[in-house]
Symmetry: C2
Subunit: 186 residues, 2 copies
C-alpha cells in the first residue's frame, strides 16, 4: 500500500505530558481525511515479566488513574534517556517491587493503540532475582503479588487482570516460562 501524503500537520492541544496533533492526509485513492493522534513522546515504556526462584511471577497492584482504581498488572515504567529497555526494566523492578535481576532478556516492542498513538512499550523477561530496593517516583509503595507460574492461564483469563499489554507480555514469554517450569524439580 502507498502511504497517504501528509498535507498538513499541526499541534492542536498540549498538556504537561501529552501533545495532540492533527494530520491532514491525502490517501492514494484521492480521499482526504484529518486524523488526530498523540505522537511518540521522547520516552517509551518498558514492562517486566519477572519470575523468582520459587516459580512465581511478580505482579503489582497499582493505582491506575485512567480508571481511578487499583489494578493488577506487571512492573512497568518509562525508559529514561540513554537507558536500554533491559536496564529500564531492571530499574523498574527494583523501584516497584524491590528486586534486582541477574538475567534480563529483551522480548519484543509492542504498540499500544497505533491508530491514535505513537507510543511503544518493550517487554523484557527477568529471572535470577535478588533483593534490591531502589527508590522510585511512586507516590506510595506498590503492592507486590506473587503468582505461581503453574497458574498462568488462570491469571490471563481472570477478570482482575485485564491490561492488554500485560496479557500480551505474558503470552510472549510463555515458552520462556514453560522452560523454567520444565526445569523445576516439583
Amino acid at each position: 500500500m502507498k502511504l497517504p501524503e501528509i498535507l498538513n500537520r499541526k499541534t492542536v492541544a498540549r498538556s504537561r505530558l501529552f501533545k495532540i496533533e492533527t494530520l491532514d492526509l491525502l490517501f492514494s485513492n484521492g480521499v482526504e481525511r484529518t486524523y488526530e493522534r498523540l505522537p511518540a513522546g521522547s520516552r517509551q515504556g518498558v514492562i517486566v515479566v519477572a519470575v523468582n526462584d520459587k516459580d512465581e511471577l511478580l505482579l503489582t497492584r497499582e493505582y491506575a488513574a485512567g480508571f481511578h482504581e487499583y489494578q493488577l498488572s506487571l512492573p512497568k515504567g518509562a525508559i529514561d534517556d540513554s537507558e536500554s529497555a533491559m536496564a529500564a526494566g531492571a530499574r523498574e523492578l527494583a523501584e516497584e517491587v524491590g528486586f534486582g535481576a541477574n538475567n534480563v532478556e529483551f522480548v519484543k516492542t509492542l504498540t499500544v493503540a497505533p491508530g491514535h498513538m505513537g507510543y511503544e512499550i518493550s517487554v523484557v523477561f527477568a529471572t535470577d532475582l535478588y533483593p534490591n530496593e531502589l527508590e522510585g517516583d511512586e507516590p506510595e509503595p506498590i503492592e507486590l503479588i506473587k503468582w505461581p507460574i503453574s497458574e498462568l492461564d488462570t491469571l490471563i483469563e481472570s477478570d482482575d487482570f485485564r491490561e492488554g499489554r500485560a496479557i500480551a507480555a505474558l503470552a510472549l514469554c510463555k515458552s520462556r516460562i514453560e522452560r523454567i517450569q520444565s526445569r523445576s524439580p516439583g
Copy 2:
C-alpha cells in the same frame, strides 16, 4: 489499598477526539500528586478474532496514524451507542474485511494504558463466517490477510505483528482456536 482522594479534577486540553484532564490526588499516606489522564470517552472499542472455515485467521493491514505506516492487526473499531460489543465486532468485520459471522462470542474487556487512559476494548471471537460487505467509514479499502491458525505462534512472535491488544486478543482466544484445529480433518 485505600483509593487516593481526588482533591481537584480539571480539563486542561481538548481536541475533536481527545480530552486531557488533571487529577490532583491525595494518597492515603499523605503524599499529594497531580496526574494527567485521558478519561474514558463515550465510545469504547472492539477487536475481532475471526477464523474462517479454512482455519485461517483474518488479519488486516491498515494505516496506523500513530506511526504513519501500514501495520498488521486484527479487525477493530469503535462500539456505537446502543450496540453490544458482539454486534459491533460483527459490523466491523463486515466493514473492514467483508465477512459476517453466524457465531460471535464475547471473550474479555481489556484496558490499553490504564495509568493514563480510561479507554477499554472488548475482544470478541467470530466463527461460521459468510461473505457480507458493509460500507464503513474507512478512507480506503483495508487489506485482508489470511493467516493459518496452525501458524499462530509464528504470528505472535513476528516483528510485523506488534500491537499489544491484538496479541492479547489472540492469547485469550487460544483455547477456542485450538478447539477448531482439533476438529479439523487435516
